[in-house]
Amino acid sequence: MTEEERRRAFADAFIRQARSDRNVHRLLLASKDVEACHALHYLQMTCEKLAKAYRLRDTKAPVDDLVRSHAGFAKFVGAYMTVTLKRQLPSNQLAALIRAARKLAREIEKLAPAIDRDVSPVNAEYPWEVDDQVMTPCSYSFPSLELLRQSGGRAFLKLIDAALADFERVTVV
């Protein structure tokens, strides 16, 4: 494969996997007796792969760097919303929407266990230690990510689904 073919192949694979992850997230979010950490784990994976798909296809950043890195969804959110909503919304309203979405996006980025565990130990997969206590994801309520009740929570889910659906027709640079 050429590097461009490799870039395109990874981009297509990441969007396919992101869509599959979102389907599982949807099921877990609506399932009774499933701890919040599991739905959030799939939400974090959806968002990470979604951002990678667009960045792989729409930027010239090194493929291996993008494939292996964890961060980037909060940055993607602002770029995507600007491209897709700037004609629909006045600039001050768009700016407010982007701020709200980025706030949740940053919280979701922090759920990945590889992200800065010394500063943000709370994650959706592995136990962590705080104040001489060992915490378990399945026993933690993740209050800042209760999307049913958080400001902008429902709009955030709309945003993810729109970005997943738009991949074939929207370029984000």
Partner: protein, 109 residues
């Protein structure tokens, strides 16, 4: 059970009015099987601070400690809601504005 579900729906509507300053309407959709134990609370929310998609997408949430009933919420812009009322945009299957209950924004204390 029905009274508790109605109270949970009211509480959630009021909570959303509190955290979404541009929320203009919260409408509870009532269906024929509303008394079935598994039938979720269904809310259509009109929010001037969301973005339009041209369709009504419901998002399902399992019961939780804060809202002890499964809940389905769809969020639309005021312009989309006007198009829903004009029957230009369809509601999710089984949803109707007939017999719907509208929660007014609580007055500030």
């Amino acid at each position: 059970m029905e009274r508790d579900k109605a109270e949970a729906a009211r509480e959630l509507a009021n909570w959303h009015y509190g955290v979404e300053p541009d929320l203009t309407q919260v409408i509870r959709i009532i269906t024929d099987n509303e008394d079935d134990p598994g039938e979720p609370i269904k809310l259509l929310e009109v929010n001037a601070a969301t973005f339009a998609t041209g369709s009504v997408e419901p998002y399902a949430f399992a019961a939780s400690a804060s809202t002890p009933f499964p809940t389905v919420i769809a969020e639309v812009t005021p312009e989309e809601f006007a198009r829903i009322e004009a029957k230009e945009i369809e509601l999710p299957e089984g949803w109707s504005l007939t017999d719907a209950h509208r929660f007014p924004r609580p007055h500030a204390a």
